[in-house]
């Protein structure tokens, strides 16, 4: 007898969760390399007595929209955007390799290329890339090859090549926060992608999509609430009428 309310409740909970996802997308509208997330609903079939089934709502999974965000030029030679699919590899503090799309790099006091969180960016050999202190201008080619020039015109080549890697199942990358992803999958070089120096990939959040999504969630939530209210009235009415007939 309680199942209408419970089905509606499962919908309310799922809607709250999708509102959280939308809120996170909107909050990260200016986060470099952020990928918007969506939520996937499913039915959870419960077999009640006498062969009746009830379908509850369950939020099964969140997925990332892997489309490339708009590229904005910044004029900073160490800002690198990936054009196409793929990730930069970085070495996390615990020694493991993590992946990121946020290419706002810097140099550390040793001249290594690091991320905003201070993690060294790895080259295609799995080693950090070090820029010598005599370098006055740094150049990153579209294949990720890092070269530098000194003031007297000497070119410093073979400093390393920023690795761009891809995976079999991109959705299985686990978001760790701070723009990082981790996975146990083996990476392969992303050969059809290129990098662009002096630019950053903006977040791919579309304001219109998020706003309409938000309106939809709120209205559905209201409707569900109304239904719960009506269900409550129906039950009270039924109890009322039934108790009167028996009296």
């Amino acid at each position: 007898m309680q199942s209408p309310s419970l089905v509606l409740l499962s919908n309310q909970q799922a809607l709250q969760r999708s509102m959280d996802i939308v809120a996170n997308n909107v909050a990260n509208a200016s986060t470099t390399g952020f990928k918007r997330e969506g939520i996937e609903f499913d039915t959870l079939v419960s077999h009640a007595a006498q062969g009746e089934t009830t379908d509850f709502v369950v939020d099964r999974a969140t997925y990332r929209d892997a489309s490339v965000g708009p590229i904005q030029t910044t004029g900073n030679p160490l800002d690198v955007a990936i054009q196409g699919q793929g990730y930069f590899s970085v070495r996390a503090a615990d020694g493991t390799t993590k992946y990121t799309r946020a290419g706002s790099f810097q140099l550390d006091p040793l001249g290594q290329i690091i991320t905003q969180s201070g993690l060294p960016v790895l080259g295609d050999g799995g080693q950090p890339i070090t820029i010598p202190d005599t370098a006055t201008s740094i150049n990153i080619a579209s294949d990720g090859d890092v070269t530098a020039k000194t003031d007297n015109g000497t070119s410093l080549s073979e400093l390393g090549k920023i690795a761009v890697v891809k995976f079999g199942n991109e959705q299985a990358l686990k978001a760790e926060g701070a723009g990082l992803y981790s996975t146990s999958q083996v990476s392969a070089p992303a050969e059809d992608s290129s990098v662009m120096e002096g630019a950053l990939e903006q977040s791919n959040v579309q304001p219109i999509t998020e706003m309409t999504q938000m309106i939809k969630i709120m209205r559905t939530y209201e409707q569900t609430s109304n239904l719960i209210g009506q269900e409550n009235t129906r039950l009270t009415d039924a109890i009322d009428k039934l108790s009167k007939t028996s009296a």
Binding site: A27, S104, P109, A172, G177, I217, Y221, G229
Partner: protein
């Protein structure tokens, strides 16, 4: 309801973004100013269903998980050390650095700060000082008999003394350089200080390997590009509005929930 606090992190982030942009715009005419950029990162994720975990005892795994992000955080505000334009002032003591390098300035507490702003002056004893009166290192004293001062591209300071035909060499200006100039700590008054992130200063004469040259009678303008700042400002304001809409919606959802049993 996490959406309320997630929206709040978004509003805080955009507020910082506007603050950074307004500081850039405010310093549009500041000599040697380098524009900053606010960089954001996503916050931690809450895993409802962890990706890659087993979905059955036959070894099937979840192809994607259920992760809810908890908002945004500012990661850094970093300076973009692009060369600013040089503007000619014809003041012999305005010296611009064309290329890499910072002037070294001795602070009243004895420590050294670094600056790109070369609007120098002379103090009562004839030393090169910044507009705040801090001496420029290495110390160069201009004699009172000097009628004109020349600073050449490689940093030599020469003076014409009345009654003499040949110029006298007064000294050599030195510049300091850092491996990671973005890591310098801005302390205001156009001054920057060395940090662990910047690395130790490497000093050298202008025009030597790794250093820029000096241009007398010119100043380096700020590298703020007003058009891009204004467009960034518009984006930040709209993003701020969207985040407030999120908080509003979450609030309405909660209020709807409160009114279920009326």
């Amino acid at each position: 309801m996490r959406a309320l606090s997630i929206g709040a992190t978004g509003m805080e982030a955009q507020q910082l973004n506007v603050e950074v942009i307004s500081n850039n715009i405010a310093n549009l005419s500041t000599t040697g100013f380098k524009r900053s950029r606010a960089e954001f990162q996503d916050l931690l994720y809450q895993n409802m269903r962890s990706v890659g975990s087993a979905s059955s005892d036959t070894g099937t795994i979840l192809p994607s998980g259920l992760q809810v992000g908890l908002g945004v955080k500012p990661a850094a505000t970093y300076r973009i050390n692009e060369q600013g334009n040089l503007t000619v002032t014809n003041n012999p003591l305005d010296i611009a650095v064309n290329g890499r390098g910072y002037f070294q300035v001795q602070l009243p507490d004895g420590t050294t700060a670094y600056t790109r702003a070369g609007s120098l002056q002379l103090n009562a004893s004839g030393q090169f000082v910044t507009p705040d009166g801090f001496t420029v290192l290495p110390n160069i004293t201009v004699p009172t008999t000097a009628t004109s001062i020349t600073v050449n591209a490689s940093g030599q300071v020469l003076a014409t003394v009345s009654g003499q035909t040949a110029q006298t060499t007064l000294g050599q200006l030195q510049l300091a350089n850092f491996i990671n100039p973005t890591g310098l700590d801005a302390i205001g008054q156009n001054l920057l200080k060395e940090t662990q992130a910047s690395g130790s200063p490497i000093t050298g004469s202008p025009q030597s390997t790794g250093f820029g040259s000096l241009v007398q009678g010119s100043l380096e303008t700020s590298n703020v590009d007003i058009v891009s700042e204004i467009t960034n400002l518009i984006t930040a304001q709209r993003a701020y509005e969207m985040n407030s809409k999120v908080i509003n919606t979450a609030d309405q959802m909660l209020s709807t929930a409160n009114q279920i049993k009326s």
